[in-house]
Symmetry: C2
Subunit: 194 residues, 2 copies
């Protein structure tokens, strides 16, 4: 693990170990099994220290999801909108399928609908992620590839939504061919439709 990047919430110097313990526990035990006590035990950080920085587990989980290096990926800059969206599609698919991250993503998905606090954590995570994706769309507008009126959130809903839906609801694999076709559909629309 690299030096913790305390990007948005601050936190103690042991942030990397705390965030890793939080996400491991979420993946292992689910949202209900995640407690401040278990994070303290697994990370070796005093519980008092945890509460000094995060008032409750939702705040800690939000910080872990947003700031952990585990779920971050470099934002692409391939020189074209299609290339950037394809790179994003591969990065999202990797997060949802890699052994180290898939259990975290599915644990959040599993817990969110029934638990409003966690839904807020998820919403904050995706809002932050969208902010980091913004330059992809700003560059596309600057290159003349995309109308400035376009809403990046709506575009990412299509692309990320298709990937989540395909894998987790339809139960189908995310092949490179599938990802390329999904990006082409998002960029070009339906072939034959005027």
């Amino acid at each position: 693990m690299t030096t913790p990047q305390r990007r948005s919430t601050g936190g103690p110097r042991q942030a990397a170990a705390i965030f890793a313990a939080t996400l491991e526990l979420l993946a292992d035990k689910g949202y209900d099994g995640l407690t401040m006590e278990s994070v303290a035990a697994r990370s070796g950080v005093n519980k008092t220290t945890l509460y000094r920085w995060w008032p409750a587990k939702d705040a800690l989980l939000a910080a872990a999801l947003t700031d952990s290096d585990l779920l971050s990926f470099p934002m692409p800059d391939t020189g074209s909108l299609r290339g950037d969206l394809l790179a994003l599609a591969h990065a999202i698919a990797e997060l949802l399928t890699a052994e180290s991250t898939a259990p975290i993503a599915t644990a959040v998905l599993a817990a969110a609908p029934a638990r409003p606090q966690l839904a807020q954590v998820g919403a904050a995570f995706f809002a932050e992620r969208l902010g980091r994706e913004q330059p992809v769309f700003e560059r596309a507008v600057a290159r003349g590839e995309l109308d400035a009126s376009c809403d990046p959130a709506a575009i990412m809903d299509l692309l990320a939504g298709a990937i989540w839906f395909r894998l987790l609801l339809r139960g189908q694999p995310l092949t490179p061919e599938y990802l390329a076709r999904a990006v082409d559909l998002v960029v070009d629309g339906l072939p034959g439709a005027s």
Copy 2:
């Protein structure tokens, strides 16, 4: 409740009551709280009768999801692909937000990632649903609105995925404007992208 439509799996004459009890219990108690015993108790149908038709709760749940009138909606035939996709988008949004159906959809979503059997149930449900959506795309090809090479599953991944992602992961409302814009993006692709 209307007369049960025993579309794909057959079942006893009390199928409507059994399916309703199954889906109510899933919504109330979650997947783990759903048992053959509790379905028998709530529906007033003998447990022996249940086991005669469905060997286990996954088979019963699959039948309930696929055959219950609760989750079905009429397939649109508006005369245009865009109109049909917009009607589908509204129907999906209604299922995910209506008081009578939202808890069922989110309970399936919540349980699926961690439970392979339920993932198969979900996959079977969406495969059956896709089969019922097929005429929308066949008519669009026949009208010259869509290339025959197009994959309806990939198109529905974009549309349904965006709606699920927007509501359940991003935590944003599904307004009529949002649904119309999502359909336009799916049909037309990105404005300004060549």
